[in-house]
Every structure is written in structure tokens, then in C-alpha cells.
Symmetry: C2
Subunit: 660 residues, 2 copies
Amino acid sequence: MGVLSQLSGVIAGIIGIIFTIFLTFIVMEINPGNEKMQKISKAIQVGARAFLFSEYKILYLIVFAFSLILGFSNSWIMALSFVFGATLSVLAGFFGMSIATRANTRTANEAQSSLARALKVAFNGGAVMGMTVTSLGLFGLGLTFFLTGGDTIVLSGYAMGASFVALFARVGGGIFTKAADVGADLVGKTEAGIPEDDPRNPATIADNVGDNVGDVAGMGADLYESYVGSIFSASVLGALMFDVKGAVFPFLIAAFGLISSIIGIIIVNISIKEKENLDPSKMLHLGTYAANVIELIIIFVLSKLILDTFQAALVITLGMIVGILIGSITEYYTAKKPIEKLASTATSGSAPLLINGMALGMESTAIPVILIGIATIVSFSLLGLFGIALAAVGMLSTLGITLAIDAYGPIADNAGGIAEMSGLDPKVRERTDLLDSVGNTTAAIGKGFAIGSATLTALALFASYIQVTGISMVDLNDPNVFVGALVGAMLPFLFSALTMKAVGDSANIMVNEVRRQFKVIPGLMEGKAEPDYAKCVEIATAGSLKKMTLPSLLAVFSPIIIYFLLGKVAVAGTLAGTTVAGVMLAIFMSNSGGAWDNAKKYIETGKYGGKGSMAHKASVIGDTVGDPFKDTAGPAINILIKLMSIVSIVVIPILMNLFE
Amino acid sequence: MGVLSQLSGVIAGIIGIIFTIFLTFIVMEINPGNEKMQKISKAIQVGARAFLFSEYKILYLIVFAFSLILGFSNSWIMALSFVFGATLSVLAGFFGMSIATRANTRTANEAQSSLARALKVAFNGGAVMGMTVTSLGLFGLGLTFFLTGGDTIVLSGYAMGASFVALFARVGGGIFTKAADVGADLVGKTEAGIPEDDPRNPATIADNVGDNVGDVAGMGADLYESYVGSIFSASVLGALMFDVKGAVFPFLIAAFGLISSIIGIIIVNISIKEKENLDPSKMLHLGTYAANVIELIIIFVLSKLILDTFQAALVITLGMIVGILIGSITEYYTAKKPIEKLASTATSGSAPLLINGMALGMESTAIPVILIGIATIVSFSLLGLFGIALAAVGMLSTLGITLAIDAYGPIADNAGGIAEMSGLDPKVRERTDLLDSVGNTTAAIGKGFAIGSATLTALALFASYIQVTGISMVDLNDPNVFVGALVGAMLPFLFSALTMKAVGDSANIMVNEVRRQFKVIPGLMEGKAEPDYAKCVEIATAGSLKKMTLPSLLAVFSPIIIYFLLGKVAVAGTLAGTTVAGVMLAIFMSNSGGAWDNAKKYIETGKYGGKGSMAHKASVIGDTVGDPFKDTAGPAINILIKLMSIVSIVVIPILMNLFE
């Protein structure tokens, strides 16, 4: 293999970074709007930054402690790559979110003149996130690969760094955003009777901050780890099968996927033109499909050239198809006919809505699991474990553009909030709402890729664990393995319980603070005095940071405890148990939550009595219950599964060296 | 082994049947109360019988079809034992419920004179259920064992018959009881504004019928299958380790457990004396503990005498301790401090109550799973797979008395309803309420035994499956096995979705029928005309029967489909996946449901504003959501797990013969 191939990740990463800087300039040169808008946007920026800094403080305490242990017990290079992987993730999340919190007010401002212009800013703001995450992820992992000659142990340190940050960011951000959301709604809307996003509500800035730290920074860190994890495991398994060619191949796929994403992003920008009845979903779809088609063509060429077989390309094609199908199923359950039926049950009250919504989420696990099963079996029969890992890489290779669309939604959402708070023309809000709703639908493909790739990557990491520990088999007929699997299956439930309780507790503290401010700040309700926004941000920050550590440490220490009690084979059982139960719980919670959210929105379009009706009240309860499901516990479980795997890959061999 | 030992199950079964007849006479000779009470009780009896007959019709259609397939493809003796196992379960459920529906009015009548007398009838009514289930179960399995010389294949047919009936009875009864409950409440209480159990409500008889077919007959069939399943798997695994001694040992344990239960029941009857401040829980506990202590002493003697080791006794002791601990944990989460905290969240509305209730249920999976893990590992290290199966038999050996206490609750509950409907002195209702609440607490031990034994039996059945199919290992590193496990983990979610949706749909039809009757029957609201109770019973019957078949067939056909697609080893993966995910889901759903129920009751004692307060309204929603959790989906999952295992044990070897 030429040096160029081995450096492909680094080169593509650098190209991506340059393109990101270019995109950033495009976004930043847009007029950020009037003083009021800028002030609101600034408050959101400051709050979000404050939260991230506090989060990083705790995170780095744990990261450094862990890296010291790694350094002393194993190797300092690995410890370094661990910190490196974590730091690039932190940078990606921080930078992406910084631009997102600046794109929001610009989107609102552009929406005053036209939908097309607003679409362009919001999309480019999201694209910065997408490109930052993929460029930094690929650059860092590629550099580590190149410098160490593809050393599995050092690479696993990098991947673990990514997983660490992802879990903290998802859990911390998830708790923050829902605590602020519930706190703002319960006191502001229900008790004080002021509208949503009203500047008199002390928690309103915290609420908008939450959208950014949860939906933008949290999601960024999440997908950074998926991306890195899939490339890492494919590279390790590829090396076993095709030697250095196999190890490099996933990097090449990712590198060209990054370039394809850039092309897709450019296509979206070119195709957005001023016209009547602009349909934003067309351009977003065009860009996504173009990127994937270009990537696929390149993959077929690479597959033949490098591995001398089309099977790798077939596996990746299959992965992409399955990802798109899972996305469609997810969309079907959370946005199509089932939602209309679900919304109709709200007319009998919240209990039927809740029962049916949970049934819907549970039912929605069936087809995705079968699709993943098919992808697994076929990939394995074509290319062994390497095939499974490659299918995941294929799904995530165009993450640059799919994440752009994911992150574009919250930007449009935030823009709507700013438009409302600063009293812009209602037409502006209409436009941002349209952008937001289009984003939700177009994001379905990205969601499908995320679910599918997470499960396949978990499978690949499971295989890597078996390989690094030298286990010959994981026999379920061995009671240690079965008990390991039982305990493993329990962990996602316990983890979800802890995160959901954290949301409840933090929301409670927020409620009390908002009540306090309404009482003690004179002139607040009359709009003469300003609320103490920062205090609410502080409270949400403190609450979520205090509560995020325990569930995160659960992921880190469970495999270690199982190792000492039941041995390394039982750890494999635990990983399998966590994976199979966790995947179901994650799909169930995400889709139930999404379904309740959309059932509420459907009723708000005037169905079943519309806003203010009994059905609407019931649907608000459903939506509130669904919030921690879909934005806190659900998505964090995917990271839990992978973090446990990667910790096992890193730590158990070290423990084996020390104790066996 | 002497013939007497080999016949121990049959002999104990016959003794149990004689004792049951004796108990039945004791219950039946009590005065059933005045005409009105008898009329109500009669209506419940007729409705319950009508439902069971319709259910059995469908059930036998499927049982006969399946037995024909078994007969033609394998052996007619096995087909016969399958029908035999199913029929004895049907008889046990039917007879036990018949007495329960007669004990209710007698309890109400006795409660007019004293608490002690009411306690005696209610307990003896429950004891009939407990003794019928254990006597018939042990007699039938023992007879099959004796006649076939312990043939595994034929015995597995018997166990499958038990599982078949259990799933249908649990699912069908579970849908019926909740459809009627919700239907009666939504229209009667909320729309028409008449009190609970009011005779003018057309669905009120259906509601009481539901308690009997769900909580009594459904639970009876459920525990019949647990009992039979545990003895069967222990016998099969015992034969592998100790030859005929090992095969007979579980029957001896069960036989002496049955005798111990009789002694316990007699002790309860003797210790109930007329006195001030009678505390019923003391007598119930006394009987339970006495039965278990006697049984344990016998087990230590038998263990040494027959197997020449105390290890079997140690394993069973461990099983009992773990069962009691799981029961205490369950009680802690659903009745102690966590409930007070949960109830407090209802003051902020139903959404926080629902979120926290779900978190509570998910958290409550942790300790039971760890306890089961300990029991598994220790039992295995002492006596191998036989040890695991024996621990389950130990927990269920005194099922006669623990089930008596389980079934006594619904009888006291029904008695309260009859007292209310026929306008007896409020003091009567107070007494029956006290009996009911004591029953709920004392039943905790039984619940712990049920959860613990179900998981251990599932493990033992898993091992039996591996043994009968001659698989050498079930390697999770084989993608077929992992995919099997993924699909297996999905099944309990899909199954729960189907059953919960069935409750919702059937409740809907019921609501419409009650509304219709209020409209078209003149003079109904004035009490001048009688509602058409039978029609409501019919509707709940039709609805639940139509909906019970699909989820039940899911359990039967999934392993077969997996076999054809992925092979016999993947089926083992599926069973493991279903077990580990299903156990968590079952504990979560049961405990969340129980917690919401008790949080509502706690608020109704006057806490947080008491009845009619905002918190109470929220808690009613929580309770309604929890109903299908704890009474339909939750308990049925345990049977799903075991039915899938037993179907695999029976069917896969047949398919292997045909196709391999």
C-alpha cells in the first residue's frame, strides 16, 4: 500500500477542515439581524458555552484520571491517543455548536427576505457541524493509524476517547435540555400563562441553550463516536482478513465519503434558487442522494482495485439500502399513518394515548431488527466479520451531509424562537417552521443510518473484543456467559432509569428557581425588569453534570466488575446481552417519544379538536413523557452499548496481563 | 429406586386432590348470603364460565391441530401427553375459578359476623386454587413419568400442553380483565357519573368476571405451567447426572412440598381465632413459613438419603432464600418508600408520575437479576445444570400455599364488590378491604418465587434444548447465533405491543357497547330496567379471544421460522435473547404497573390532597397505563419465554429428523 493510501484519512480530514473553514466564512458573513436578535442569540451562545465548559471540566477530570491509569498500567502512547480522541471530539462538538448558535439568528434574519436564503444559512450552519465532526474524526484516527502503523491497541484508545465524550455529552446534554424544557413549560406556560419563548420566562434561554447542547453538541459527539468506532473496528477486522490493505480500506471509504459529502453540500447550495413554492426537501434529498451515489461508484472501483473483489462494495451497498429502509420504517412509525391512529386515541384521554404510544414504539423494533439481521448474515457470508463492520462504515461514510441535515433542524427551530422573541413578522416564523418540519422528515435517512450502523458496529466491536482477548468461543451454555448476558441485558434498563430520574429531579429544581424569580424580581412580569437567565442556565448545568456521572461510570465499570467476578468470557456475554436488549430499548424509546411528539403536532394542525381540546391536552402529556425517552435515554443507550464494548477491548487485556 | 418413589408424584397428587375436595366442602357449606348477593355472585359465575368455555373452544382447536401434527410427525403418545397436560391445566383453572367465584359471596357474608370467619373462607377458597393446580399438575406429570419410564420426549409434550394453556389463559384473561375494567370505568364512572360496582353499569359484571378469569384462572394456568415446567426440566437434567435417582428426585421434592403445603394450610386454619385486632398477615405468614421449614427439613433428609449429598438441599435452600429476597425487593419497590416518593411526583402532574414510574420499574430489574445470577452460578458450581433446575423446583415446591395466598386476594376483592353492590353494612367492606390489602403484601413472597423460578426454569429449559438437539455449543461469535439473539430479544417487545394494543382495542368496543345500552334501554339509569350484562361479557370475550391468538402463535412459530432460516443453533440464540430481554421487560412492566397502582392507593389514603385532588387525577392516569403493564403484558412475557423454549424442545428435534 502506498503512503498516500495510508494517509488517506489525514488528507481527506485536512480537505474537510479547509472546506469547513470556507463554510464558516459563508455563514458568518450573513447579517445577524437587529440588536434584539443578536442579544438573544448572544445569550444562547454564552449559556451554551458555559455549560460545555463546565461539562468539559468534569469530563477532563475523568479522562485524565483514566489516562493516567492507562499510562501506568499499559502504555503512554495509548493514554495519549485516548486523550487525543476525546479532545478532537470535544473540539468538534464545541466548534460545530458555536457556529450553530450563530447560524440561528442569521437564519431568522434571512427568513425576513426569502425562504431560499434562510434555507441556505440554516443548511450551511448544519453542514459546518457535519463537516467538523467527520473531518476531525477522520483526521485524528487517520493520523493515529499512520503514526503507529495501525496499532490496534493505540487505535482502540482513540476510539475509547471518542466514546467517553459521546456518552457524557449525550447524557449531560440530554438531561440539560429536557430539564430546561420541562422547567420552562411547567411554570411559564402552565402557571404564569405566558407564551412559549417569552423573554420574561427566566428559563427560556436555558431552554434554547438546551436545544444546542443536547440536539447539536450532544448529537455531534454521538455521531463522532459512531463514525470513529465503525472505522476503527472495520480497520482492525480488515487487517485480519486482508492484512494492511484491509486495514487501510475503511479509511479510504471514509475519505472518499467525506469528499462525496462535500460535493453533496455544494450541490445543495447550487440548487437552492429563489422561486415560488420552493420545496426545501427536494434540494436536501438531491444532495444526500448525489453524495451517496458518487460514494458508491467510488467504492465499487476501490473494492476491485484494492481488495480485488466486488464483495466489499456489495456489502456496503447492502448496508446503505438497509440504512435507508430502517430510516423509512422509522419515519413510517413516527410520522405517517400510525401517528394519525395514535392521535385519535388521545380523544379518549392520555392513558390510551400512552398505552398505544408505547405499544407503537415496541412494535417498531421488529422490522429494523430483521433488516439488521439480514444485513449481518449476508455481510458475514460475503466477507466475514470484516463485512459486518464494512456495512456500518458504508452507512456512515457520507455522515458529512446526513449530519448536516440533522443539525440543520435545531438551527431552524432556534431561528423560529429568536423570531418569536424579537417580535419579527409572523411570516418569518412560518418560514422557519417549514424549514424545521422539512428537516425532521429528511433526517429520517440519517436516523436509519445511525441505528443500523450502531448495531452493526456493536457486533463488530464484540468480535474485536473476542479477538483481542484471545477467547476461542462464547458459549451460551456456560452459565457464566448466560448470567453475564442477563446482567448485560439489565444494564440498559438501569441506565435508562438513572437518566430519566435525573431529568425529573433536575426539572424539579428548575421549576422552583423559575417560581422564585417570578416572586422576588420586581417588575419581571410587566417586562420592566430582566430575569436572571444565567441562574437558570447554571442550575440546569449543575443538575445535569451532577447526574451524568453515575450512569456514565456504570458503562465504564460494569465490564470490569464482571471480569473480576465471572471472567473474560462472561464479559463477552455481558456485551451481547447489553447489545440485544439495548438496541430494542433504544428503538422503542426513540420511536415512542417521536410518535407522541408528532401526534401532538398532528393534533395542533386542527385534528381532533386542535389546540386547547381534550385530545390536545392528552397529547401534551404524551409529548412530555416522550421527551426523556427520545432525547435523553433512547439515544444514549446506543453509546452505552459501544462504550462498554470499547472499554472492554481496552481494559480487559490490560487486566488479563496483570491478573492472569 | 422403589416403585413408591417413582409414583411419589401420583400419590401426592391424589392426596392433594382428596384434600382439595375436603376444602371444597368446607367452603361450600358456608352460607352464601342473601338472595341479592347470590344473584350477583351467580352472574359472575355464569359470565366467567361463558368466557372460559369460549376460550377453551379456540384453545382446543389449536391444541388438537397441533396434537395431530405431533402425532403424524412424531409419536401419538407424545401427542396424547400434550393433550393430557393441556387438559389438566384447563381443569385446574376451571375448578379453582369455580370455587373462587363461590367463595366471594360467602366471604362477604361471613364478613358480616367477623373478620376471622371471613378470613377463613377467603383463604380456603384460595387454597382450593392452590391445591388444585399443584395436585393436578403433579399427578398428571407424575403419571406420565411413571407410565413412560421417564421418557423425555413424552414428558416434554405434557409440559408443552401446560405452557400452551398458560399463554392463552394469561393473554386472553389479561385482555378480558383490562378491557372490561377500562370500559366500565370510562363510561360508568367518568361519563355517567355512577359509582364503581354500581349494578346499573352494564360492564360491572364483566369487570368482576375479568378479575376471576384474569387474576384467578389466568394466574392458575400460569403457575401450573411454571410448576410443571420446573419439575420437568429438573427431572430431565437430573437423569443426566444421577440417572433414575436424579429423574425421580424432583418429583419427591414436589410431592413432599405438596404435603407440606397441606400442613401449612391446616396450620392457617387452626391459628385463625376470634379476637380483637386480628392481624391476618400473621396467620398467613405462619402457614407459609411452616410449610417451607417442614419442606426444607424433608429436603435435607431426602438429599442425603437419595443422592448421597447435601448439595441438592443446599441448592434448594439457596433458591428459596433468593426467592424470598426477590419478593422483598419487589415489595420494596412497589409498596414501600419508593411509592411515597413516586406519589409525590403526581403533584406536578401525570407526566412526571409516568416518567418516574417507568424509571422505578426499570431500576427494579437490577437487584433481582443480580440475585438470580448468584443463584445460577452457585447452583451450577454445586450441581451443574441440575442444580439450576432444582433451585427453581425448590422455590415452587410449596406453591400449594403460596398460590393459596395469591388467589385469596381476588376473592376478598370480589367479596368487597358484592358487599357494595348488595348494600351491606360498610363495616363489611372495611373488613374485606383489610383482607385484600393483607393479601397483596403476603403475596410478595409468592411473586418473588414466581419471578425467580421462571428465569431459572428458562435457563434449565435452554440447557434441555441444547441437550435434546445435540448441539455442542452456542457460540455468540457465530453471527447466526447473535442474529438469533437479536431477533429473540425483539420478540418480547413485539409481543407486549400486540397485547397492549389488544387491550386498547377491546376496551374501545366495550366503551361503545356501554354507551349504547345507556341510550337504548329505557329506565336503566333509574334502576327500573336491568342492563344486558351478558352482552358486555360477550363483547369482552369476543374481543380478547380474537386478539389472543396472534401473540400466542408468535411464541409458537418464531423458533420454527428461525430454525428454517438460520438453523438449530440460532434457535438457541433466539431463546437466550428472548430470555434475557424478556425477564427485564417483565419485571419492569410488572413493577411499574404495581407502583402506579399503589401510588394511587397511597394518595387515596389522604396524602397529597387525597381523592379528587390534582395528584389523585394524575395517579388515576398512571394506574390506567399500568393496568395492561402489570396484568396483561408483564406476566405473559414469563410464559412466552418458557413456551418458546418448550416448543423448541419438542418441535426442533422433529424437524431435525425430517430435514437434516
